[in-house]
């Protein structure tokens, strides 16, 4: 018996096994990369198309068989886009609304998340439940009621109307509260023993520990402001308050109803650039979490 087992063990052809293993590893790696490559192409193709379209002449753009590389690079499209659409003004408007609403929204989110995560008060659970329940209502429904409210407050065609209605986001509060709740209770007690006030504890301990979440919220909020379309169009679509998405919609259509698409594409490329840069710079925060290894057990 023992002899047999040894024979079986000895007779294994290690060379063959190792060759099969190498081949299968290579194949699985090849398949993975091929899949990733195809997906990347699918994702990146619209961007590519936007860039080359923005560099074409209108005539080339209108050809029945599209070209994959512009015959003549029209960098002037970008300059034209910037001036005809008053992109500068649109940028400033959007930046203003985006920054103010992000900052205010962060303050509100952090404070309410802290209250729901840490403070003890009557009706806390009920209030939080009610807040969560509002997440069930589709956003479009709010548009109607918000429109009426804003109209009655006399906020039409002001930045206030663009900023205030969306300052409180239940989803962000929920997200941050969950994050805060993961911070161990002992840290709070330790800070209490050390004479730290709630606000200081929030600022010195909780916010640094929840930084990845806060950065995600900032990015999402900024993107929301940048991409918002329906609401600004409804309440503040005049020249002084126009946001970038609405500005782009009609800026390049001439009196005959003909749109200059390459220039419009150039404008879209310019508008996408800031968000793209923000994502590129902050992606490490979006992906990673802070280690919590100060706590054992």
């Amino acid at each position: 018996m023992a002899k047999n087992v040894q024979d079986v063990m000895q007779s294994r052809d290690i060379k063959k096994i190792s060759a099969v293993q190498t081949a299968s590893r290579f194949l699985s790696k090849f398949a993975t990369y091929a899949f990733l490559l195809i997906m990347a192409l699918i994702v990146l193709f619209p961007f590519y198309w936007m860039i080359i379209s923005s560099l074409k002449t209108l005539a080339e753009y209108r050809q029945a068989v599209p070209t994959f590389w512009p015959r003549q690079l029209m960098f002037s499209n970008y300059a034209e886009a910037f001036t005809t659409a008053h992109l500068g003004d649109l940028f400033l408007n959007t930046l203003y609304v985006g920054l103010i609403s992000t900052v205010l929204s962060l303050v509100i989110t952090v404070l309410s998340a802290f209250a729901f995560a840490r403070l003890e008060f009557k009706g806390k659970e009920a209030l939080f439940g009610a807040l969560l329940a509002t997440m069930m209502i589709p956003g479009e429904l709010f548009t109607i009621t918000n429109y009426i409210t804003v109209n009655q407050l006399g906020w039409m065609h002001t930045f206030t109307a663009l900023i205030v209605p969306f300052l409180v986001s239940v989803f962000y509060i929920y997200l941050l509260r969950q994050n805060f709740m993961q911070i161990p209770n002992e840290l709070y007690l330790a800070a209490k023993v050390d004479g730290t006030s709630d606000i200081k504890y929030l600022w010195k301990v909780m916010i640094p520990l929840a930084l990845p979440t806060l950065i995600s919220i900032t990015i999402l909020k900024m993107m929301g402001a940048w991409n918002s379309y329906i609401w600004p169009k409804l309440v503040a679509n005049d020249a002084a308050h126009q946001m970038i998405t609405n500005g782009l919609r009609n800026a390049f259509t001439d009196t005959t109803g003909q749109a200059n698409y390459p220039v419009q594409m150039a404008a879209v490329a310019i508008v996408s650039a800031p968000l793209f840069l923000v994502f590129l710079c902050l992606r490490k925060y979006i992906m990673s979490g802070v280690s919590r290894s100060g706590i054992k057990g």
Partner: protein
């Protein structure tokens, strides 16, 4: 700074709304912790030792009774004004701060006339770090430290504001066995050097006995016995204390007193005076019985465990409440392991008897 606990009581409201049963975590605790002593609160989990500690530091409000630091009544005083240092079981270091920032954190919260300059803060941080021997590690993050080092940082953070009382909640339970021995010596050394009144909570009796000046044994919120470790070990007031202290644990047997003699089974093992006839529990320390051919107690011999300096003789007895009766003897004494039975003699000062109903100690005199 002495700490006085006066009728200290903590009642938690019931979790279970139907029965409405309240939980008495700490029941009428009276104790004066002398200045500069190291006191170990000892008991099984759920005995109220941590609750007592949290009441001393002010994180939990007593339901009744008073707490004094020195002559000052601090019962209503908030935690940060009590001047205490607290070390948590899991250390509770701030993970995003370096060791230096962690230790300095309490100093940055000082206000008014206590406010320190940056240099003073750094000096005190460095001194605290030197005291616990981590001054090399000031720029590391907690995640880059071992468990023992994290523990030291936590102690330094508790000491840096020069507290009047130092409180440690299960300080060693997250360390491995070797580190635990080392760290408990360390805690003893730091406590001696600073002379700070220290209370620490543990469920490990060996830990409590080895470094405490005074131990307080608790059970279900009630203090069982307070005293120096050796005196509590030598003179337990009831069966619980006798069973809780000592490794290996005390041998417990059923027996009776009849006509001035203590019987285990049919054997009269000790003649005593001034004890009435009754059924009793008997506790004998493992070092309290020794093999002797003419011994008074006969057990069935199972095996002998050799541990180097000592040997453990394992035997069984029908009256024993533990699965085995263990005797610890000098390993020079040879035991014939082929024998079926073994006879022991009894050392009366290691031999305690307890009332069978109340489990309180019955004191006797040997005839």
């Amino acid at each position: 700074m002495k700490v006085v606990l006066q009728n200290l009581t903590k009642i938690f409201p019931s979790r279970d709304k139907k029965s409405g049963q309240e939980v008495i975590a700490v029941n009428d605790f009276n104790f004066e912790i002398p200045d500069g002593k190291l006191v170990g609160l000892l008991g099984p989990s759920g005995c109220g030792k941590s609750t007592t500690l949290y009441m001393i530091c002010g994180l939990q409000k007593p339901s009744g009774g008073k707490i004094f630091f020195g002559e000052d009544d601090v019962t209503e005083l908030s935690t940060e004004n009590r001047g205490i240092g607290l070390v948590f079981q899991n250390y509770a270091l701030y993970p995003h701060m370096t060791v230096k920032q962690n230790i300095m954190f309490p100093l940055q919260n000082l206000k008014g006339k206590d406010k320190l300059t940056k240099e003073e803060m750094f000096d005190r941080t460095l001194n605290a770090a030197k005291l616990v021997q981590i001054d090399e590690l000031l720029d590391r993050k907690p995640s880059e430290l071992s468990g023992g080092q994290q523990q030291r940082v936590a102690i330094a953070r508790a000491l840096v504001k020069m507290p009047r009382v130092l409180l440690l909640d299960e300080p060693l339970s997250n360390l491995d066995a070797r580190l635990r021995l080392q760290t408990r010596e360390e805690i003893r050394r730091i406590q001696r050097e600073t002379g700070i009144t220290t209370v620490f909570v543990t469920h490990d009796q060996e830990e409590a006995m080895s470094i405490s000046d005074i131990i307080v044994v608790m059970k279900l919120g009630v203090v069982q016995q307070i005293g120096a470790p050796q005196s509590v070990y030598d003179d337990p007031k009831n069966l619980f204390v006798a069973k809780f202290l000592g490794t290996p644990p005390i041998n417990v047997l059923e027996g009776k007193v009849s006509g001035g003699k203590i019987y285990i089974g049919d054997e009269a093992v000790l003649e005593v005076t001034n004890v009435d006839d009754q059924d009793i529990y008997i506790g004998i320390r493992p070092e309290g019985i020794e093999p002797n051919e003419n011994g008074v107690l006969t057990c069935n011999l199972s095996s002998v465990e050799v541990m180097g300096r000592d040997s453990s003789v394992i035997s069984t007895h029908p009256a024993s409440l533990n699965p085995i009766v263990r005797a610890i003897i000098n390993s020079d004494i040879r035991i014939d392991t082929s024998a079926q039975t073994i006879k022991y003699n009894i050392k009366p000062h290691k031999f305690f008897i307890f009332n069978k109903e109340t489990e309180e100690r019955i004191y006797y005199e040997v005839k």
